[in-house]
Symmetry: C2
Subunit: 257 residues, 2 copies
């Protein structure tokens, strides 16, 4: 129940009509015993910096979840932690004594979701698809877990090459390349498969047999996951990553509960 | 339930810890079938203008309720309607095509509360106590209802005189004076009687016998109301004014529902 002591967690994005997770946030905050609400704010692209100056004047604001198209602006307007810095993007801000502190929970949320699903990255050959915003955060998270190798593919070859280079700078001992081939662990960070999209994000022959497939799309029956199940893979989809991020967000904003 | 289509009504004040009405707003919005939440925002004095610039970037913000100490800043930063202009203060803003439009619901809320309580102002001798922000709005509302006379008292004589002058400019035919005396209708707009305050806001002998007493303090048992009941007055307190303002607010922000 909202009251005079309620604190706010806002989701700022454009558009916001497709956003999910409100019931899940409400349940997690209640379980944690935190008097806060999670709310959508429709902030247009380009307006984030001005919004942020106004938001800094809201003393009961606990934090801001930045989503498309604001993750780069959120990064630029804050003091980033290592996860945000490696991602070049921030998806969560909290007020600091001066300005804002930020993090990026995509990578850590991905790792928590994999752990909960019993999926292992260490020592495995990993293929990633998609070198966009979420892909960048996930690539850094994968690299941190010590895979045998990491291959990154994106229809935009320059974007894939740039992410490979960024990973190589942070993890100089990891074999990382812009490539598309066979793997033991396949991770889709491209948007292919969202909504009604019935495409596979890679040729079907490259889906591993009895391997591991994580699709960050928040949909249990993407064409990739359907095909991967038929090949005996263990699979998981983006909902678990969203749920993992809720717990991480509560910790970042409210400390140990 | 908060979701991607929820709109926001924010209460901006400093402090906000004493604010009330959250359950009442939630119930009224639900009854009206409006997907919106009413939320407190702790915005410090002096920060309202910057907050407002940021808030203008929130496209799902339905409106802002401005309370102490922001009513003058809200007025200055918006296009006021006649109620806000006469009050010199705004307590409700809505986004306009350019900037903000504002009103002040204190006066109209007071009139609706009186009507609902069967209290009559037309043709009566009215004594008001308190010439502060709410008093100014209430004085203009009383004047509009055609009382026989209006007397205004305030411990700050200059403030009472200024309000008398402002009322006289707007309502040149109304007998209005800075005075404290006998009356048929007594309206307390001073804060005396709030919380644990056990003082009367005027000498007991000036409480009318079998008259009408409205105390805008949101407390049913202020010393004034207790004494007035003993003298056979019909009485009402500020909760009804708050409830009336909720309906008026919904109309101002969302139109006919």
């Amino acid at each position: 129940m909202i009251g005079a002591a309620t604190r706010l967690i806002v989701l700022a994005g454009d558009p916001i009509s497709h956003t999910k997770g409100y019931a899940e946030y409400a349940a997690a905050l209640e379980v944690a015993g935190i008097d806060a609400v999670y709310l959508p704010l429709h902030v247009p692209g380009g307006a984030f910096a001005e919004f942020l100056r106004g938001a800094r004047q809201m003393r009961n604001l606990a934090g801001i979840v930045a989503t498309i198209p604001h993750k780069q602006a959120a990064f630029a307007a804050s003091s980033p932690d290592v996860a945000a810095r490696r991602s070049g993007a921030a998806n969560l801000l909290r007020p600091a004594s001066q300005g804002w502190e930020s993090t990026n929970l995509d990578g850590f949320g991905f790792l928590v979701a994999l752990r909960d699903a019993g999926m292992v990255l260490a020592g495995r050959h990993v293929q990633m698809l998609g070198a966009g915003g979420a892909g960048r955060a996930v690539a850094m998270a994968i690299a941190e877990m010590g895979p045998a190798s990491l291959a990154i593919a994106d229809p935009d070859a320059a974007r894939a090459a740039a992410l490979v280079q960024a990973v190589a700078v942070e993890f100089p001992c990891l074999p990382v390349a812009a490539a598309l081939g066979e793997s033991e662990v396949l991770v889709n960070c491209s948007p292919i498969g969202m909504g009604q999209d019935d495409r596979l994000p890679l040729p079907a022959a490259l889906i591993p047999d009895r391997g591991t497939v994580y699709d960050i799309v928040n949909r249990a029956d993407t064409p990739l996951l359907v095909a991967a199940r038929e090949r005996g893979c263990i699979v998981e989809h983006g909902r678990s990553m969203m749920l993992a991020q809720i717990g991480l967000l509560i910790h970042f904003l409210f400390g140990p509960t």
